[in-house]
C-alpha cells in the first residue's frame, strides 16, 4: 500500500490522536498521541491491509535545545514498521515529556521490542510501562544517568576500574 494511504487509514481510525503527519522522500511519518500509541501499534500490526509484522527499529531522539522545538516535548520515541506481506513501511513517533517519560511497551506485539526498549531506557531514560524486564542493556549496572541525553556531559566517564576524571 502506498505510504499516504497508510497514513489515511491511521487518520480514519484514530482521528485526533494523530497529532501530525509528514513525508520526506516517500517515507511517511505519523506522530501519535501517547494515549493512543498502544492501540495504534496494535492496529498497524493486526489490520489485514496494513499487517506490519516487523518492528525494524525502535529508538528515541532527544530534542533538548533543538531550534524550533522549544514548545514541543523533549523526547520522541520512534517506531519503524515494516510489512513483509505488503512490502511497505511506516514510521510512528510519540512525543514524551521529560518529567513524565513513560511510554506503553510494545513487547506484546513484537518480541524484539524487549531489547530495543531496554536500550532506549539505558540511553535516554525513557521508561516503558508493562515491560517484563526493564534493565540496562548496554551500560553496566553501576552507571549513573543516561549517556545519550543531550545534557549528559560529553566528557563524563564512570570507569569501573582505573582513574576517574
Amino acid at each position: 500500500m502506498d505510504g499516504s494511504r497508510i497514513i489515511e487509514r491511521l487518520r480514519e481510525r484514530f482521528a485526533t490522536a494523530i497529532v501530525e503527519t509528514g513525508s520526506q522522500w516517500r517515507d511517511h511519518t505519523a506522530v501519535v498521541d501517547r494515549a493512543a500509541v498502544r492501540e495504534a501499534l496494535e492496529f498497524c500490526k493486526t489490520n489485514p491491509e496494513l499487517s506490519f509484522d516487523m518492528l525494524t527499529d525502535l529508538t528515541a531522539v532527544d530534542y533538548l535545545k533543538f531550534p524550533g522545538r522549544e514548545d514541543r516535548p523533549r523526547f520522541e520515541v520512534v517506531y519503524h514498521l515494516y510489512s513483509l506481506p505488503h512490502n511497505h513501511r511506516v514510521r510512528l513517533k510519540v512525543g514524551v515529556e521529560e518529567d513524565d517519560a513513560v511510554v506503553p511497551t510494545a513487547v506484546g506485539l513484537w518480541p524484539i521490542a524487549n531489547w530495543f526498549e531496554r536500550e532506549v531506557w539505558d540511553m535516554f531514560g525513557i521508561r516503558f510501562d508493562g515491560h517484563p524486564n526493564l534493565r540496562r542493556l548496554l551500560m553496566y549496572e553501576e552507571f549513573e544517568g543516561h549517556p545519550l541525553r543531550k545534557d549528559y556531559p560529553i566528557n563524563r566517564r564512570q570507569p569501573l576500574i582505573g582513574p576517574r576524571n
Partner: protein, 152 residues
C-alpha cells in the same frame, strides 16, 4: 668481572634470545583492528617468521597480551583480569590508537588508553596500523624481551 658473573650475564642473554623467538600471544581482540591483526598473522606477512605464530587462547599459556581494539569501561575489568591471569614474565602490546590513547573516541564509553589500567610495553599507533607497523612493533618488543625488560 668474575667468571660466575660472566656466565650469569651470558645465561641471561641466552634466555632473552630464546624468549624473543618464542612469543606465545594472547590476542584480546575487541574491534576492527582485529582484521589487521589477522592480516599480519596470516601468510602474507607471516609473524611466524618472528616466532610469534602460535596464538594461545588461554591467558595462562601466553607470554604477550595483544590488546587489539577499543576497550570500553565495561570491558576494562575483564582485560585487567586476563592480564592478572597471565604467568610471568609477561608483556603487553597496545595495538591501534584506541588502545594507546582512546583514539578518536572521547565519550562516556571508552577507556582513554589501556595504560590507565595495565602496564604497556609497546604501543603500535594507527587506525588501524598497517601490518608493516605491527611487525615493527613486534620487533621492538623482541628487542625489549632480549634486553630482559620485564615487569613483575
Amino acid at each position: 668481572m668474575g667468571l660466575g658473573a660472566f656466565f650469569a650475564t651470558k645465561l641471561d642473554e641466552a634466555i632473552g634470545w630464546a624468549r624473543k623467538y618464542s612469543i606465545f600471544q594472547y590476542p584480546f581482540v575487541t574491534a576492527c583492528c582485529g582484521m589487521e591483526y589477522m592480516a599480519t598473522a596470516c601468510s602474507h606477512y607471516d609473524i611466524d617468521r618472528f616466532g610469534a605464530g602460535l596464538t594461545r587462547f588461554s591467558p595462562r599459556q601466553a607470554d604477550v597480551l595483544f590488546v587489539v581494539g577499543t576497550i570500553s569501561h565495561k570491558m576494562a575489568p575483564v582485560l585487567k583480569r586476563v592480564y592478572d591471569q597471565m604467568c610471568e614474565p609477561k608483556w603487553v602490546v597496545a595495538f591501534g590508537v584506541c588502545t594507546c590513547t582512546g583514539g578518536f573516541y572521547d565519550n562516556y564509553a571508552t577507556v582513554m588508553g589501556i595504560d590507565t589500567i595495565i602496564p604497556v610495553d609497546v604501543y603500535i599507533p594507527g587506525c588501524p596500523p598497517r601490518p608493516e607497523s605491527v611487525i615493527d612493533g613486534l620487533m621492538k618488543l623482541q628487542d625489549r624481551i632480549a634486553a630482559g625488560a620485564q615487569r613483575y
